[in-house]
Symmetry: D2
Subunit: 202 residues, 4 copies
């Protein structure tokens, strides 16, 4: 099923590395040592989750059917014009974000509002393309991947007996302007293998 998601993303113009770059932008303020590779790996872990896969293949199917005018009306028109009060796209995206808990909600809304990078490009309405669900789903995946990294970082710290200080969170949306005076970048132990990290939060 993960391969299906990767194929659909490729067909619809979504590059996993680009999602990884969004995650990197979200997480960099909280950690000097974070790498783009870690962010891409986190995106891949999110789309291994069944809950994410089901939401993604359903949303992309609705986009594609609307593009072909194959949905019943009035749904077809609503999806085609990305009607602001439709809401079902946000509901599916939220199901993805929720996989790593409520801390991803803030990042999701932020990304969905500002339409950064890839997400904004998907949201552009051109050439008969319909990405009503896709832009929200990508925001949901990026928010989940960022939340996953934040959970791991604290998990590592706890495991290493370093923290529980709360300064190492790195969840987008808190202390973004450096008010806390903490040094969040000190926390992750870069030597920990992904497997070990995953174990900490599994």
């Amino acid at each position: 099923m993960k391969d299906v998601v990767l194929r659909l993303f490729a067909e619809r113009g979504v590059d996993i590395e680009e999602i990884g770059r969004i995650v990197y932008e979200l997480q960099r303020p909280y950690s000097d040592s974070i790498s783009l590779e870690q962010c891409i790996e986190s995106v891949l872990r999110v789309i291994e989750k069944r809950e994410a896969q089901h939401a993604i293949i359903t949303g992309i199917a609705l986009d594609m059917l609307a593009e072909q005018n194959a949905l019943p009306e009035p749904l077809n028109s609503i999806v085609r014009r990305d009607e602001p009060l439709y809401g079902v796209d946000e509901v599916l995206a939220l199901a993805v974000t929720n996989i790593y808990g409520s801390v991803g909600l803030t990042s999701f809304g932020y990304l969905d509002k500002l339409k950064l990078g890839l997400i904004g490009r998907l949201n552009d309405k051109e050439k008969g393309k319909v990405n009503t669900f896709l832009d929200d789903l990508v925001a949901g995946v990026a928010a989940a991947a960022a939340a996953r990294i934040a959970h791991q970082r604290v998990g590592d710290a706890v495991d290493n007996g370093v923290a529980g200080s709360g300064s190492s969170g790195g969840v987008a949306g808190r202390g973004g302007s450096g008010r806390e005076g903490a040094s969040p970048s000190a926390s992750p132990s870069p030597s920990a293998s992904p497997q070990v990290r995953e174990a900490a939060s599994g």
Copy 2:
């Protein structure tokens, strides 16, 4: 109960008019005719909802008890330092936002990330004040009030036989950069009384 919420907000430094101003900033890009008064009225309608009231009095109680070091540990420390992975504050705020549907999710995340105006001030950690729940709750109330206005605007348009065009939505997070080329400001019928408007979405 509404009076309890208003009193608690006042005691904790939250001015309803300031929340209204945040709603106004969220909605202005979608409507030339929106007024600050409408936004303040929408905030007041949100806090008349039982679901919002319960979340607000619970969250503020937790803030106040943490301030007095009256919560059991380790909860007291977690709430005092607004631990990024705590998550319960976002969960309560989301219950408020959800009252007017999933379309408020985006605004909530945006506000919670950027900490605009009052929300940022509440998030500042100074003088032993604990506003771990309050800043999120205010973002949740503002997002719900903005979603309520967006629903009403489309409701009005539909009632007046104008729309169904989807161009009049004004939900924060869509078409924010004017990509749609629509003129969202034409929609609301300013003469409709609040009561009539409410009926349309009741």
Copy 3:
């Protein structure tokens, strides 16, 4: 749009009165004076909500497309066999239930598990029919309609200066076995018109 929902329900074998009867079963333990008419009216109010309408027309479209084998694979097979871990059907139904707050969650799960009446009939897999989304959506509508009645009942009581006693709630899932020793049936003022009631919870 409400007419679209009513037409789709009729085409798919869902009778509004049958949903009303489920609501009646949920609410009767909490009120002697509740009538089937009130329950049907509450169902109709739920499906006037835009959030409910969007979820319903989306879910039914997915059912119909799966029935015609018109969804892309593997989604088509997943929806056709109502795969237990699919989850998107519950997510859409929950968006309906949430309209009247978290108190409807319990009723939704209860109905979705026990598959009472109409909901069980829809869940039966026969004759190539696909009701993967529809049975959950009907449970979501019934749970929302019951929650709406419970909110109104307490609203009335508060307005009439009777309550705040908490004994008049009638939310499915609490005190169902009469443990509380309260007399929940005493609360609603049957003379209040639906309009007045709505105003109390609007």
Copy 4:
């Protein structure tokens, strides 16, 4: 933190094995080979999750403070009498259930309505005890643990090249009356160690 949760559960009269037994009742219809030990282990895995821990310690703190009349009014009275429309208890419990996706929603509502075993005992109002949050939280933990097992079972089947047939789900709330004619009990490979199983769904 897990130790804190275990200690709080013990202090409040919640036995992990009893929660395991509820999970067992939920899952037995879908699998002959499930053991009580697996169910207890699944409960323990749920309470290792930070999201669950935070919801649990917050809810129990509110119960305890209400018991001591240490919450501000009117919150203290609302929590003490387990007011049916309060809703915050369901919101916290849902945050726990959501950890393993939307498929746990149905079990949560079912348990919360029927108040099986331990959950019903906690809901009994006697001797000044306040378990307003605790009964919902236990239902949320049990629903999450059952969803986790259902996800693993299908995960195993997929890994072993057996399934993708959907007959092996075992999520409470579907096909409970055997309508599907499937033999869901054939799926899990009992020899797989918990570690291997976890890896499949991690």
